[in-house]
């Protein structure tokens, strides 16, 4: 058994896939170094990230398979599941063998698995578009903490750039300690940790209470259905919702 380890970055994963082809090996697993699980039988290879190599794999997926496949691969990578690297590798091998039509082979486990996870990541991206709640802070900065299951904070940037171009906003993935910052002109994605308490602006409490009141009034009492509510809005998202948490 041959295990490849990469540094956890997307470039690292693609480098590992490049190396597998370059060395003529077929690793049975490709794992991020952080998800290390001790195994006595495995032969371990540590892959050093080379952007030149990862770039070649990137372009090759796009041109030899399809943009759709590239997107699937990236989304599965963002799921951060321990086996994501291995599944991507197996998916791509099939893709390079068969070509872009292979995405229709849904009865093949390798394809179906990647599609399902990619869909789940995309689903959470879409869900978070609605569930992000900005709080207006002192200095007119709109700040939204989130704690998504998958690493989707980067995927929501285009949506909010188009929607709030004239507003300063921050979207903060509290668990992964990363954030998107936008100052009305440019944006950046980087590490973020809040040490101090945030300070709300003057009007903020008013609109929060209006929103809570609205949320209460819009429900039809004769149809109350907490189970359906939780199904649509899982409890893990409640923490940062004005109308539900705090």
């Amino acid at each position: 058994m041959l295990y490849y380890f990469y540094d956890g970055s997307f470039d690292g994963l693609l480098t590992a896939i490049y190396q597998a082809y370059y060395r003529g090996e077929t690793p049975s697993r490709i794992v991020a170094a952080g998800d290390f699980q001790e195994s006595l039988l495995a032969e371990k290879v540590y892959i050093r990230t080379e952007t030149e190599q990862s770039q070649r794999v990137y372009v090759s997926i796009q041109t030899k398979i399809s943009r759709q496949a590239l997107r699937n691969v990236f989304y599965v990578y963002l799921s951060e599941l321990p086996d994501a690297g291995t599944w991507i590798y197996e998916y791509l091998r099939l893709g390079w063998k068969i070509g872009k039509e292979f995405d229709r082979m849904l009865s093949d486990g390798r394809v179906l698995r990647v599609h399902k996870i990619s869909q789940r990541v995309n689903g959470e991206r879409h869900r978070i578009l609605g569930l992000i709640r900005f709080r207006c802070l002192e200095g007119n900065i709109y700040y939204a903490p989130i704690s998504p299951q998958y690493n989707i904070v980067g995927l929501v940037i285009p949506h909010f750039l188009d929607r709030f171009p004239g507003q300063n906003w921050i979207i903060h993935d509290v668990n992964r300690k990363i954030g998107v910052f936008y100052n009305g002109e440019t944006w950046s994605l980087g590490d973020m940790d809040l040490e101090n308490e945030i300070e709300l602006s003057n009007g903020e409490k008013l609109y929060q209470s209006l929103w809570k009141e609205y949320f209460k009034s819009i429900a039809i009492k004769d149809r109350v259905n907490p189970k359906l509510q939780k199904r649509n809005l899982p409890v893990r998202y409640w923490r940062f919702l004005i109308e539900k948490g705090q």
């Binding site: 082979m105 009865s107 609605g130 900005f134 188009d162 929103w211 199904r231 649509n232």
Partner: protein
């Protein structure tokens, strides 16, 4: 009056309007503007009744000159009343939007003084949002029946979606419960909007800068269970509305008893299952190629409460089954109970690479619990029972019952005010309206 109290009264009065979707419009933001819209629509929260909150759904006023028996805002009802000013409404909408609470505004209203006066106030709020605040989010506006066409036309240039609620499926029911309204005043604005939409599309072809008139189309709503109309009438009406006015959606609203009046039925809980069956049938009309008369006709006027409309139809047309999933075309696949639009497409796509096994169907999202009795796979029938109507029906009912009892096992909850009649999957789709 405090803004908070107004919001409370006017949101509470708006809640019986079902529609909350923000779909169908794909506007990009403008320079220095605020907001855009997303074609698929985005849900922002889910209220305690499990319905999604996408728009700020609110009445402009609940002062009403009419006295419609079924409506909580009728003039003879003793409820607190309030009216927004256009500026208050604009302020709430913009500030909710900036905090990403909502996708936009759904503005409806009771009729204050007269239809034109009300429509002008609503128009003013919408105009301010678009022109003064440069707001490009979603706006759904109710057209007030009886308002002049020129007001509707002006409003249509600002908003994404318009709707007029028919409420009652027949003229007779309308006479009974809303004697001051006439069917004609409801249908007229609908047909006006629909003709304007067509005109707008043609203009757009000729001139690049032409206005988008109501780009997300128009919708309507029907109340279910307040009148003796049967399901067949309702479904035929929906079909006609889709065909004649190319409506985007017809919404069905289970009647929630809000008053006791000799003309109203006395029911203890809203007829949710019936509402759900109508939604299922509505989907069959729009996405599955069914006609209303196939589902319901003179001899079969109401849906089976225990079976979904597609299973019901399949059992009445058992001579068309079993269908071989490896050969059937798309239209036929869609008619199999347990196969939906997504799974039918997946079947078509993946069987080009080799024939499908029975086990593959599960992976592709086919609900075998229902589908197994109606298909063959590589020539083999997997139903496990005789293929006759009675045995299949019996089996389907047992399956449905089992999933219900599993549900209610978990639902020992003080908050549950109405009996759990539907299986979870059913309830979910009935409300989200997702495919």
């Amino acid at each position: 009056m405090e803004l908070l109290d107004k919001l409370k009264i006017l949101a509470d009065a708006a809640k019986y309007d079902v529609s909350c979707s923000s779909s169908g419009s794909n506007k990009k933001n403008k320079k220095d503007g605020l907001g855009n819209s997303c074609y698929s629509g985005i849900c922002h929260s889910w209220a305690d009744d499990g319905r999604c909150i996408s728009l700020l759904k609110i009445l402009f006023t609940n002062h009403c000159i009419y006295d419609c028996t079924y409506c909580i805002n009728r003039v003879s009802n003793a409820v607190p009343r309030a009216t927004f000013t256009p500026d208050e409404l604009v302020d709430i909408t913009i500030n909710f939007y900036k905090r990403n609470y909502i996708e936009g505004l759904f503005l409806s209203s009771a009729v204050l003084k007269n239809p034109n006066y009300t429509m002008e106030l609503m128009l003013e709020a919408v105009r301010k949002l678009r022109e003064q605040e440069n707001f490009n989010g979603y706006i759904h506006l109710k057209a007030i029946p009886g308002a002049d066409n020129y007001l509707i036309e002006r409003a249509g240039k600002y908003v994404d979606r318009m709707s007029v609620n028919i409420e009652f499926p027949s003229e007779r029911s309308l006479k009974l419960l809303a004697p001051q309204k006439e069917r004609e005043t409801i249908i007229r604005p609908m047909s006006f909007i629909s003709s304007k939409i067509i005109e707008g599309i043609e203009d757009k072809r000729k001139y690049k800068k032409a206005f988008d008139f109501v780009p997300a189309g128009q919708t309507t709503q029907l109340i279910v269970g307040a009148t003796p109309d049967n399901d067949a009438n309702i479904l035929r009406l929906s079909e006609a509305l889709y065909k004649r006015f190319s409506l985007k959606r017809v919404y069905y609203s289970a009647y929630v008893p809000v008053s006791s009046h000799p003309n109203l039925p006395s029911i203890s809980a809203p007829p949710l299952v019936r509402e759900h069956r109508l939604y299922q049938a509505d989907w069959l009309l729009r996405f599955y190629g069914f006609n209303a008369h196939e589902l319901l006709n003179e001899t079969h006027q109401n849906f089976d409460i225990d079976l979904d409309p597609k299973c019901d139809w399949a059992l009445r047309n058992i001579h068309l089954f079993p269908v071989e999933v490896n050969y059937a075309d798309y239209e036929l696949l869609l008619r199999i109970p347990g196969v939906g639009v997504k799974s039918a497409r997946r079947i078509i796509a993946s069987r080009r690479f080799g024939s499908l096994d029975y086990a593959d169907l599960n992976k592709l999202g086919v609900v075998l619990k229902r589908a197994r009795y109606f298909i063959t796979c590589k020539g083999r029938y997997y139903g496990g029972i005789n293929m006759d109507v009675h045995s299949i029906k019996e089996q389907l009912l047992i399956n449905a019952k089992n999933s219900r009892s599993l549900d209610s096992g978990e639902q020992v909850s003080l908050f549950s005010l109405y009996p759990d009649l539907l299986s979870t999957g059913d309830k979910l789709s009935s409300i989200t309206g997702e495919l």
